[in-house]
């Protein structure tokens, strides 16, 4: 099957992300990358856990965190994970328009999350919780900020894919790209689940 071949719903394979060798490589390579990312975030988490009480006179986690904000952000990101599942669902059904639509919603939700995070950081900075204040601040901003950077990169990536492929529809060349981008998006969500648990919730109970 040639990668650029025009396909129909009937000829479109059940697992388009793995239908070509390039797709298979991408799929596997990306999963392996996520394995490495797991260790990367683990190192950030571990450091945060080791340093979270070292506030050096600055505000502590309990005084600082805005839980309602975090709750809304969490809901946005969790929902965006579901919407990207919908996008892939429509990709597998060879429904390009609906896929684009759901990816579009995902991007909006992700942008909302990112906006909240920037707002949140801004609030914290105003309360004196700046990056250079303490080991707690440094490790907090680096951990949550690295996740935020991942969200931002994910948004740009999905947007690029959507715009680039808007006119040409689905084929076996771009299907793996969409699939992999959605894997990335889920992984971001996985990391966030641990961030809101370990950083925010555990920050509230000590």
């Amino acid at each position: 099957m040639h990668v650029e071949e025009k396909l129909t719903a009937e000829t479109f394979p059940a697992s388009p992300e793995k239908a070509t060798l390039e797709g298979k490589n991408k799929f596997l390579g990306f999963w392996l990358f996520l394995g490495g990312e797991t260790v990367l975030f683990a190192s950030l988490f571990a450091t945060y856990l080791a340093l979270r009480d070292k506030t050096a006179g600055g505000p502590s986690a309990e005084e600082l965190f805005k839980m309602p904000l975090v709750f809304v952000a969490t809901m946005l990101l969790l929902t965006s994970s579901l919407t990207s599942v919908y996008a892939i669902y429509h990709m597998k059904n060879f429904d390009f328009k609906k896929m684009q639509l759901w990816f579009g919603i995902t991007v909006l939700l992700g942008a909302g999350f990112l906006g909240l995070e920037i707002f949140e950081f801004n609030e914290y900075v105003r309360e004196g919780h700046v990056f250079t204040k303490s080991a707690f601040a440094s490790s907090f901003y680096t951990l949550v900020g690295t996740h935020g950077a991942h969200v931002a990169f994910g948004l740009l990536w999905i947007l690029t894919l959507m715009i680039r492929n808007a006119k040409r529809g689905l084929d076996l060349y771009n299907a793996p790209k969409f699939y992999v981008a959605s894997l990335y998006w889920h992984f971001i969500d996985v990391v966030w689940v641990f961030i809101f648990t370990v950083v925010y919730l555990m920050g509230m109970v000590g």
């Binding site: 190192s43 340093l51 990056f131 894919l161």
Partner: protein
């Protein structure tokens, strides 16, 4: 589009190498760059030994000595050993598994250029105010105190080249998992391929902690972070843990491919299949696995307490078991064989006693209570040089001689090769054996001098003499390379006549598509099986047809260049107002190139059947 047998100008050749995505050419790039850094690192080693030749010497004093010592370690590990290992992997692994290329040719090129620019960046420190001076381990308290930009070069340079290595690791994993020829099951893969597989997995999990550690150090030094700064609540031990969570697996990242290279050489020149192949595979995987459980044995004297020390001591000792299995398997591969002492085989044979020495001192170091004496003394210096030189460097030299005909199409001169070997072998033991005793006699590591009357003079002098032997060996090797390139003997496909694995079935050097027809693998040592059945070539698994090839691209070079520029910008952003702009500009170059890569479709091209036929005829004739 085929580049076969076409005469080109110098400019075209350079452009070809700047844009290549062919794993064989990337292997050559790794070999040249790694070899160049190996010479620099070796020169630094020589300077160290000259300074220590006699007590109170004043050849390299204080801070400058520390810079040379730091750069020697950093260069040898990150810029010489690793890329040379990657050179071997790139040159051999895809062919060994019967593939036309790696899974991600573009990433492969990107990996090389990232490593290269990272290495160049690091070495530019010599000309821009001084090199890093806190040792290759760059422990946080000292590296935060270190004035100037030396440590910033270390932090940024290693981050850039570390990304390259991580990409290489993922690339080889996917290649080995997805691209094997029909019939090449996991348990039929050559040992070197297995070693590459496990090594790549280690890279995948070991480099992220290093990246994180380096990011923290960058934040602390350049952006006012407090990760390692006790005044702000930070903790220097975090760096030590992150560094060694990476650093210990790194040892295996280097030594497992070495084991793989020797496994190939032992089998080839004993004319026997590898003894206990499945236990060799098992041992490799087990070493890789245990490699992640033992990092804290580098930190026995930090004050982790007896419980942690005891746990890590016992875990470390456990690694000796699979390593021992390997040693005996190699011995019994030779047992009953018909051993030919070619240059690569000499290295392989010499490796056994040398590496066993390094291994047993490793177990001695694992005994935590006794390690309080060895730690940070010359005993440790001796130990890890026995492992890394006696294991890794021997393997790289052996592999270079062994696969040189495959990579370049010409046989290295055997007489010169053997002279290199003997000089290097004698020099190596002369230099490092005595260092065990220097350490036990109370000489700490990383000292730029020692006082007379402490019983350390003789040992140090002997050690320095040995270093010159190794330098002489390197010069002979270079001469050999030049002579061979000028008028070497042309190599056949099965250059040594005893080849067992697939790389010896294709022409030397291989055509850019490796295999005209993907081979069918019918067992371990696929070529050997065919040869024993009296066949000339491999059994093809597909009819002859058009071959799909990836397009060359300059983007990997530009992406890496962008990060190189960005690193300069961020490093100087505290002193010069242009710093931040340059930093962001560099990042934009990188991101822009990545964007281009993403939006421009790249479907590669095809080499047509007729062209392949033509090329194959040329080889046979």
């Amino acid at each position: 589009m085929s580049t076969l047998a076409r005469k080109k100008g110098v400019g075209a050749v350079i452009w070809d190498y700047l844009t290549t995505v062919d794993h064989k050419k990337i292997a050559i790039l790794y070999l040249i760059a790694g070899g160049f850094f190996f010479l620099i690192g070796g020169l630094e080693a020589l300077f160290i030994r000259i300074q220590l030749a006699k007590p109170n010497n004043d050849f390299l004093v204080g801070g400058l000595y520390n810079q040379v010592l730091t750069m020697h370690g950093t260069t040898m590990i990150f810029l010489a050993a690793m890329p040379l290992v990657f050179a071997m992997m790139n040159a051999v692994v895809p062919i060994q598994i019967g593939a036309r290329d790696v899974a991600f040719p573009f990433l492969n090129a990107l990996g090389f250029w990232l490593f290269f620019f990272g290495g160049v960046f690091l070495n530019l420190s010599w000309f821009l105010g001084g090199a890093p001076d806190a040792g290759w381990t760059s422990y946080a308290s000292l590296s935060l105190e270190s004035p100037g930009h030396g440590i910033d070069f270390y932090v940024l340079g290693l981050q850039i080249s570390g990304f390259g290595t991580l990409m290489g690791g993922i690339n080889f994993l996917v290649t080995i998992i997805n691209m094997r020829a029909p019939g090449m099951t996991y348990m039929r893969m050559p040992m070197f391929t297995w070693a590459t597989f496990v090594t790549s997995a280690l890279i995948l999990f070991a480099f992220p902690p290093l990246t994180v550690g380096l990011i923290f150090m960058m934040m602390d030094r350049l952006f006012g972070g407090n990760f390692y700064n006790p005044a702000g609540g930070g903790n220097t031990i975090i760096w030590e843990h992150l560094f060694w969570i990476f650093g210990h697996p790194e040892v295996y990242i280097l030594v497992l491919p070495a084991f793989g290279i020797f496994s190939e050489i032992f089998a080839t020149f004993s004319k026997k299949r590898l003894f206990g192949y499945s236990s060799m595979v098992f041992a490799t995987v087990l070493i890789g696995f245990l490699g992640f459980m033992v990092w804290a044995h580098h930190m026995f004297t930090v004050g982790m307490g007896p419980i942690a020390n005891a746990i890590f001591a016992v875990a470390t000792m456990a690694i000796a078991v699979p390593t021992g299995i390997k040693i005996f398997n190699w011995l019994f591969t030779m047992w009953g064989g018909n051993i030919r002492f070619t240059t690569p085989m000499l290295y392989a044979v010499a490796f056994i006693p040398s590496f066993v020495m390094g291994g047993v001192t490793g177990v001695m170091n694992a005994a935590a209570a006794a390690d309080y004496q060895y730690h940070d003394s010359y005993f440790v210096v001796a130990h890890f040089h026995y492992v890394i030189v006696g294991g890794v460097v021997f393997a790289l030299l052996a592999g270079a001689h062994y696969w040189w005909p495959k990579m370049f199409g010409k046989m290295l001169n055997e007489t010169l090769g053997k002279i290199t070997f003997w000089l290097f072998f004698i020099g190596f033991h002369l230099t490092f054996f005595i260092q065990h005793f220097l350490g036990l006699m109370g000489m700490p590591r990383r000292v730029f001098t020692y006082l007379p009357g402490q019983g350390l003079e003789t040992g140090n002098l002997i050690s320095t003499v040995g270093a010159f032997f190794m330098a002489a060996a390197t010069i002979v090797l270079l001469v050999n390379v030049v002579i061979t390139t000028a008028k070497g003997q042309k190599a056949e496909a099965d250059a040594w006549g005893d080849g067992r694995t697939l790389e010896w079935a294709v022409a030397s050097p291989p055509p850019e598509y490796n295999f005209a027809q993907t081979p069918l693998v019918r067992g371990l040592d696929a070529l050997w099986i065919e040869k024993m059945e009296g066949k000339k070539g491999l059994t093809p698994a597909e009819p002859l047809g058009d071959i799909h090839m990836p397009n060359p691209s300059i983007l990997p070079f530009i992406i890496s260049l962008g990060l190189f520029i960005a690193a300069f910008g961020f490093m100087y952003h505290n002193e010069y107002s242009w710093g931040l702009f340059v930093g962001i500009g560099g990042l934009l170059i990188t991101l822009g190139s990545m964007f281009l890569r993403s939006v421009i479709d790249d479907h590669g091209f095809h080499i047509h059947k007729e062209e392949v036929l033509e090329a194959e005829k040329g080889v046979k004739a």
